[in-house]
Amino acid sequence: MDAPGKVTGTALYAADFALPGMLYGKVLRSSEPHARLVRIDAGRAARLPGVRAVITAADVPDVRYGGSVKDERVFARDRIRFAGQPLAAVAATSPDAAAAALTAIEVVCEPLRPVFDVAAALAPGAPLVHDAWASYTALPILHRDGNVCNRARIVVGDVERGFVEADRVFENRFTTSSVHQGYTEPRAAVAQWDSSGQVTVWSNTQLPFEIQTTLAEILQLPPSKVRVIVPGIGGGFGGKLRIGVEHFAALLAMKTGRPVKVMTTSEEELTAAYARQPATVAVKTGVTNDGRLTAREARLWFDTGAFAGSGPGVASVATLMLAGPYRIPNLLLEGFAVYTNKTNFGSFRAPSGPQANFAVESQMDIIADALGLDPLELRLKNIVREGEEGPTGQVLTAVGLEECLRRAADAIGWRDRRPEVGRGKGIACGWWTTTGGSSGVYVKVNPDGTVALNTGAAEIGTAALTGAAQVLAEDLGVQMADINVVSADTLSTPFDFGAQGSRTAFAVGNACRAAVADLKRQILALASKHLGVEESALALREGSVVGAGKRATLGELARISQASGGGLIAHGTFVAPPTPYDTKRVEGHVYPAFHSPSFHAHATDLSVDAETGEITIHRYVVAQDVGFAMNPAAIEGQIEGGVAQGLGQALSEEIVYENGRVLNANLTDYKMPTARDVPRVESILVQHPSLVGPFGAKGVGEPPNIEPPAAIANAVASATGVRITSLPITAEKVALALRERAK
């Protein structure tokens, strides 16, 4: 819908946004991972040419904010908790002048004993990242204890009994690295205050309404005094959900009385953004000799970094992923979000999905190998089926998993799993949620017959709003080209839970359906009067109302309504109905059931160079149950992109830490796949319509990112016999593992 502007360079992104007289803000970040902040002196910096303001913790309200735990401040006040934590911000007449001023700010601090990873943070006597954690405001549901800011748990049956029933018990441990969303547009915001005391922030956030709320909290203003507008977003993938640069822009603009723009550098992105949580996963699974799963005890520890952020919620989601899409009668599943002296990790496309799936799907192949079963057969024997229960007791419907597995396996040629030496095929499957949350839209018919869709959701490139517009066009009987979208302005557009969790097309699409139902009533009533035809004899067709041989165009009716009735306008809302689950099975759980779950299987065929360990992917197949394929090309685009990102995490990407500092905070050494690295992805769209989604659609954006690490790990094991249990699966790891085995 917006492609012409994007290919001609006229589409406006937040990073492009500028106002007359605008200043440029930059943020001074700590080089120490854990320290007492003794003194910060900005006097010299403030006197440098071009510098208009320097602010530190002393200049901003002392507010602690955060989603599930209020543990974060704008600037470090007395304690530095990670290398990259903001200490001060500067506004100057040019980015260069602001950067120069940063180097002139004097910081004195005394290093403290740090905890750099989960093991250190959980060790007896470990320093607390937040001494005062117990006094923080937090969601009451969380289970917090010292450096653990949440422990989410699912308990079903009795795992000990389940292990006794098993013939074999398998215990494996897996680790994953942090990976960055890698959006090509840095996070950017421009803030401007007006004379009424309202601040407007143009930002590339995925969640304008959440940013509005957080900004109001930080600035201690009523939310109505904060307006957030999303001009355009160059990719998000979950990395642009939480506040990033908006508060610095707003505070600097308040101090200087000028508009201020703040934009991140690649270094800031890789040291102080919301990259995916690194994880350690321990999985213990009991199985009978014929391959029936009897029990699983699994724990996943997320390094959430210095602040809770999305950690408590993602740790909850992780427990559902640890169950896998399998029927296991006895479960003890725990997800932990653990504070460390690292950046606050966050949500990245299907948060927790790849980490948990890598562990459980790798183990499924380990089990199959040990029992001499075909990995596909083992899965088919244990997957959840229509009408069965999920791990927390939700009743599963529209379960397309078997079809996904069979079609992916057929497409990859599963029967010939090891076609030659050093070549093998792997398969992995999973499930995922379609995030709920509410959406509202206004829909208006214009006097020329076109239709305006006004939504609070932002288009982040997933064509999700195109999907919603398609729903609207379909229901209203107009052309897609006749629909114009106004989006993502907290002042003028209706509330939307935001572009997250594979929900936009789903929820906004449903809100559109509700609005159209109302609009249709108005249109038909008016047309009936105008044409003198019974309403029951009228229908909407090709931009007109027709019936009894008569016709009135929508434009004509809109003009009549504008002259006599205030115009044809309707609003529609949608909130996903709650998914019932067994509350007795969960503790500390923020996300106890998957709404309208999707199911998927990935299969790949690859070769491994026995000497260098280099992996060459020949084919990659995805079979995804999308419910209903509203726009197949757009869905395939989501699958191709999600797999490319997943392959990055599987093979090449990792943010490398040493003593709390990032060693590769640049795009030279943070290795995202190039056009030469990504294979052609073959998509199979499986359609088992959901009960709730528009026309049966399910969320499609996140799932393709989940299975690539496990599918690759399984194929590498099939090709070489070597099992890699940590991500990324670099050529080096494979080569050295092959060497070890040869000894």
């Binding site: 917006d2 492609a3 012409p4 502007g5 994007k6 290919v7 001609t8 360079g9 006229t10 589409a11 406006l12 992104y13 990073a15 492009d16 500028a18 260069d96 969303q181 890698g182 959006y183 090509t184 547009e185 840095p186 977003i233 160059g234 990719g235 998000g236 993938f237 934009m263 550098t265 690649s266 982040i460 490139g461 997933t462 064509a463 090309a633 757009a634 395939e636 685009g637 191709e640 992109g641 999600g642 797999v643 490319a644 990102q645 640049n666 795009l667 030279t668 995202m672 190039t674 056009a675 030469r676 990504v678 052609r680 992805v681």
Partner: protein
């Protein structure tokens, strides 16, 4: 800071600007000339979103000093087709669904243009190699490759009447 007078030829037009000598072409395009179609990201020649054509060759504007560009012809995405028109590459990117968030696309299209100008009959591997300096995080590249191959066919059969300047 002393500024120097620069006369830059961009998309066939001459632009006179005063700029400090350390400023990059990317910065001057975006800040002084409002040509925001050339995007900003890594500033270290790793991502390709700032790709422009310098004497017909694809270069990263983020590591090119504006001062180096005097007397050399620069083409940005804004100059690829006349206003209101689309170059066959732009058309193909739209038709093939190669555009998601779109932030990498101007650089991608210009890198493809430079490549097709010297390799009018490319294959998929050649296109992938030519675009390896342009990161895209949304599409997985497939539709971009397909769009470039299709544009190459279109350009062979009917070259654009309004060729890039």
């Amino acid at each position: 800071m002393t500024r120097i007078a620069l006369s830059l030829t961009i998309n066939g037009q001459t632009h006179d600007v005063l700029a400090e000598p350390h400023r990059t072409l990317l910065d001057v395009l975006r800040t002084d000339l409002g040509l925001i179609g050339t995007k900003e990201n890594c500033l270290e020649a790793e991502c390709g979103v700032c790709t422009v054509l310098l004497e017909g060759a694809a270069v990263n504007a983020c590591i090119l000093l504006a001062a180096q560009c005097q007397g050399r012809a620069i083409v940005t995405i804004e100059g690829l087709a006349a206003p209101g028109q689309l170059h066959p590459l732009q058309r193909a990117f739209i038709d093939h669904g190669a555009v998601q968030c779109g932030y990498c696309i101007p650089g991608m299209i210009l890198a493809a243009k430079a490549y097709l100008d010297t390799n009018p009959e490319p294959d998929g591997d050649g296109v992938r190699e030519a675009l390896a300096g342009n990161l895209c995080r949304c599409t997985g590249y497939q539709r971009i490759i397909d769009a470039v191959l299709s544009a190459a066919r279109a350009l062979r059969t009917s070259p654009p009447s309004q060729a890039a300047r």
